[in-house]
Amino acid sequence: MRNLSREELLDKIEECGIQEYGLCSGSLRGRIGEAAAKMEKTGGQGAIVCALNNADLDGILLDLLKDEPEKVMNGIDIAALALGAEKKTLHIPEYAQHLADDAVLTEMLGQHQISLEVGIVDVRADAACLLLHLVTAVELAEAFAQDAAAKACYYVSVNGKKLQRVEGSARIAELADIGDAKVLRLGYAYYPAEAAQLTVAEARIENGVIAVLPSGECIVRDAQEQMTASRKQSCGKCVFCREGLLQLQFMQKEIAEGRGKMDYLDLTEEIGSAMTFSGMCTLGQTAPKLALSAVSSFREEYEGHIRKKKCSAGACFSAETYYIDPKLCTGCGDCSDVCPQDCIEGKAKYIHMIDTVDCGRCGKCLEACGDGAVVCTEGKLPKLPNRLTKVGKFRR
């Protein structure tokens, strides 16, 4: 390989037909050509920047650095030679910065003269550089090693387990046990359980994540977590990414906590779809897809949360509510003494009140009350005091 000239390298890459893995599509040959053109135009030195997509919040594909480090680095080297650039950098996200302490990795990087950077890729920093996905580097290395047409690589991790290499034709259902789960998160979108019939190639799992949400987990909360993680990852420069993610996160949170409005669904669609083309890197462009797919594929679930305060996973709202009957309460305080959530308010001789939001539905207060004032119901609540009221003084 080292004996090939730059042109020969480029021809071979073209022959192999390698496509860039991940969210930035395009033939590798084409992308190298673009970077080279920019180098010429700006007089820049050019560089290879190898990283995951900025949108990748899970980073499971980083396991390739443990499993196939040689391939990654060889791929980077080949790309550098093809581009005619000397500078080679590997980016690892902040949440994976412990990798920087890995002695083996550090040594290998040193040998290949690849420098390590922690943080997402700043797409504005260097126009004349080639962004190379980790997996593309592996594909490139393999294609040259086997001297054959490139084989598209598919790496997935099911529910956070070990990264495995699979065939593109493998079905999700074969790889993961769906059971009675209703929600799948494949790559950067949510799917209903039927999507398990898709093949890995069809499902477009750019970050290697296959996650089956167990029936007790709520998609709204999961989407909220994804938005929060995206916000943490965002550099904050682009308006749509920075502010859009905040709005999407806020709306998911409000819906999960029972304060959602029907307007939020349209607003999520409006902001989310605008975000897909209004950011400069894959984070701002792709993160909204999670919220968008959740709201569109699971609209009933969202409407249930908003209109009826019902969560089919049983995670967001409890069917049961514990309350204290103001007529029976003597203000003794036995219930608040045992409450593990410390969510019962009251003073001696005052009617006690349970905070439904913080209540963990453990039932200890019901056991502790000697006057039978604590009630657990699945039905409508009676009128309850909303401020501290002396025992016996509550008028409905």
Binding site: R124, V239, F240, E243, L267, M280
Partner: protein, 707 residues
């Protein structure tokens, strides 16, 4: 060049120039926020989006390069929808209320809201929760108002190269600040204030703002404070670069006597210098002196303006800094100028007031000679009694007679033998004549002139010298240096004293004083002095020198109307220096009382301009001597910049200097001068930054304001 179409308008623009700037340059407004003409595009605000025929979707026009045949639409429904959405998102993190913001009326975001149309209420609003950072000198950071346009980051990193401001994150909230939130001083900020200049909102603001002054005067206060408005930052920059000829040329565009001023100017500029907010102000006078002394004259000797002879003749009465300056510029306008000077040499107060140990006489002579070389005739030893007579021979007359009569305070004993007036004393000393002083001197007065008298007396061999004044130490008008150096030389300084009487029968024996408790002026400028009970005390002396002011040496017999304090009355001290007699003008100390040499120079320049107009010229005395070039805006990093200390000049020790009239202040040495000049904040660079494009600047036809 590329021919493009924007909203139906056909334009020819340079290839690859960004479409947004092409539009703005051609009178088409496209809303924008993160874009700034002087900075590389960021493409983050998404307000400048446009649709390009043949391309899908929308593109930010700041990052779109012009290509021949491109057709652009800036106002399609989709573009407007997305633009409003972008602004809506931006405003969720911005305070809702404009009315409490100091930037109200001056805010680019506010005018964008006007143009694009506000939309709030749909989304979750928030206060970012940052505390306003007011601990830094000169610059306030109010991050709650930040819209992350990134202009300040680009200005600091790319335009100036100082690299102090970066994007930071606190609990998922992005903001702009220094690494580890250090104070600007500790982050090596150079306080060039480019960040303030480019910030579109009220986030990064000047601490020292003054709505009543012109912006330029607030941004570059040294230049504004200088009566002659010398371009100080520009010549300091040249000195830093070792280009002394260029520096001297800049100075000479405004001042014909830079060397003399380099020795004794009262440096109003230093008192306003913004560097003082970080520590000590710039040592501007010494930098000027260094430039003038190392100047070879290559840029101005034999060059500069000289208009052809006009045939008009002007007589300037008085050869001090005012008269010399006026004569110089009148000559350059082509008039024939003669200076009539009463004393044996030209120089005025520079030669006969300011002692030689502060301003060597050969320096004055050198600068006077340059003025003569320009073609000005100087007649010394000539006193003019009747200025009106001069009009028979001259087309215009300028009275620049200064104030050479010392004021004698009316008090008991004020006419006793042994009482001398400041102006007489200093003049005689300068001419090497008998001054009439004894051995024990008491100087009454607290200004620079009083100290000139005291220190001159010291050098003439007086045994004991006391200086007393009405003002308290902190408000004495003399420079701190003067007071300190005088004390080092053994002169006793007594502030806050009232002069009760001068004692003695045949001759001065001393002065009675009382201590002042408080001293103020009422609305009619009358002094109200509160004396301390029982504090009468006496100081012995055989000589009393009054140093409490000077008046012009003129009487009503001269034929000119006189004003307050015996000054020559003029119609307007700044705008119209004509006197009660047509054709006669007056300027300098003679019209406004004793001020400073630099003010006299400026007054002379103004007078020259006005007289030139009177004689049929255009009154424009400006000239260009220094190369016209834009200063380099990339100033780079400088570690510890804010902590650099002011370099002091080399000054002879008291023992060496107190018994002679040799120059004792040798200015800043060669090793230090570059470092001193390097301390400058370069506030003038801020004015090079392009002004923002607001929708109201554009023509009606495209939805803007009037032309």
């Amino acid at each position: 060049m590329a021919v493009i179409t924007i909203d139906g308008k056909c334009l020819t623009v340079p290839d690859n120039k960004n479409i947004l700037q092409c539009a703005l340059d051609n009178g088409i407004y496209i809303p924008h926020l993160c874009h700034h003409k002087d900075l590389n595009p960021l493409g983050s605000c998404r307000l400048c989006i446009v649709e390009v025929e043949g391309r899908e979707g929308v593109t930010p026009s700041c990052m779109l390069e012009a290509e021949d045949g491109m057709v652009v639409h800036t106002k399609t429904p989709e573009v407007e929808r997305l633009r409003i959405l972008a602004l809506e998102l931006l405003l969720t993190g911005h305070p809702e209320d404009c009315s409490t913001c100091p930037k109200y009326g001056n805010c680019e975001l506010q005018q964008l809201i006007q143009y694009v149309g506000p939309k709030t209420g749909r989304m979750k609003m928030r206060t970012k929760g940052f505390k306003t950072q007011e601990e830094n000198p000169l610059i306030i950071h109010d991050m709650n108002r930040c819209v992350l346009c990134g202009r300040c980051v680009r200005a600091c990193n790319e335009l100036r190269g100082v690299k102090v401001l970066q994007y930071q994150k606190k609990d998922m909230e992005t903001y702009v600040g220094t690494v580890h939130d250090r104070l600007l001083k500790d982050a090596d900020c150079r306080f060039c204030q480019a960040c303030v200049e480019v910030c579109p909102t009220g986030t990064i603001r000047d601490k020292l703002a003054d709505a009543n002054k012109k912006k330029e005067d607030v941004v570059v206060p040294c230049r504004h404070a200088c009566p002659a408005h010398t371009d100080i930052p520009r010549y300091i920059r040249y000195v830093k670069e070792g280009k002394y000829d260029e520096a001297a040329a800049v100075i000479r565009e405004k001042l014909p006597i830079p060397k003399s001023l380099g020795y004794i100017c009262t440096h109003a500029c230093e008192l306003e210098c913004k560097r003082k907010e970080l520590g000590e102000p710039m040592s501007i006078r010494n930098i000027k002196r260094y430039a003038a002394e190392h100047d070879s004259g290559s840029l101005w000797k034999g060059k500069g303006k000289q208009l052809p002879d006009t045939g008009k003749k002007v007589c300037v009465v008085g050869g001090g800094p005012c008269g010399l300056s006026a004569a110089y510029y009148l000559r350059k306008q082509g008039h024939a100028v003669t200076i009539k000077e009463e004393l044996p040499t030209a120089g005025g107060m520079m030669a006969y007031g300011i002692p030689a140990y502060r301003l060597p006489r050969d320096i004055i002579a050198e600068e006077v000679q340059l003025i003569e070389e320009q073609g000005v005739r100087i007649e010394t030893g000539t006193k003019v009694e009747k200025p009106v007579e001069l009009l028979k021979e001259y087309d215009a007359v300028l009275m620049a007679i200064g104030g050479h009569n010392g004021v004698r305070l009316p008090m008991e004993g004020s006419s006793l033998p042994g009482v001398i007036l400041n102006a007489d004393f200093l003049r005689n000393a300068s001419m090497g004549k008998e001054t009439g002083m004894g051995e024990r001197i008491i100087v009454l007065g607290g200004g620079n002139v009083a100290f000139d008298c005291a220190r001159t007396a010291k050098r003439l061999g007086a045994k004991e010298i006391h200086l007393a004044c009405l003002e308290a130490r902190e408000v004495m008008t003399a420079d701190d240096e003067e007071i300190l150096q005088a004390q080092e030389e053994g002169i006793f300084v007594h502030p806050a004293q009232t002069f009760e009487r001068i004692t003695g029968e045949e001759h001065v024996t001393g002065v009675d004083f009382m201590n002042v408790e408080s001293f103020t002026f009422d609305e009619n400028r009358r002094a109200i002095i509160q004396k301390e009970e029982g504090s009468e005390h006496h100081i012995d002396g055989d000589t009393v020198i009054f140093a409490v002011g000077q008046r012009p040496d003129i009487t009503p017999e001269a034929g000119l109307e006189l004003g307050r304090a015996n000054s020559i009355a003029v119609k307007d001290m700044e705008k119209d220096k004509s006197t009660s007699v047509e054709g006669i003008f007056a300027a300098g100390d003679a019209i406004y009382g004793t001020k400073s040499v630099v003010m006299a120079v400026e007054s002379g320049r103004e007078a020259a301009s006005q007289i030139d107009r009177y004689l049929g010229g255009d009154g424009d005395i400006s000239e260009v001597l220094a190369p016209v070039e834009t200063a380099n805006s990339y100033i780079g990093e400088c570690k510890g910049f804010a902590y650099l200390e002011r370099k002091e000049p080399l000054v002879d020790a008291p023992e060496e200097r107190s018994d002679n009239f040799r120059l004792y202040d040798h200015g800043i040495c060669e090793q230090d001068i570059c470092a001193e000049a390097g301390r400058c904040l370069q506030c003038d660079l801020r004015l090079q930054i392009s002004a923002p494009s607001l929708w109201g600047d554009f023509t009606k036809a495209t939805g803007g304001a009037e032309e």
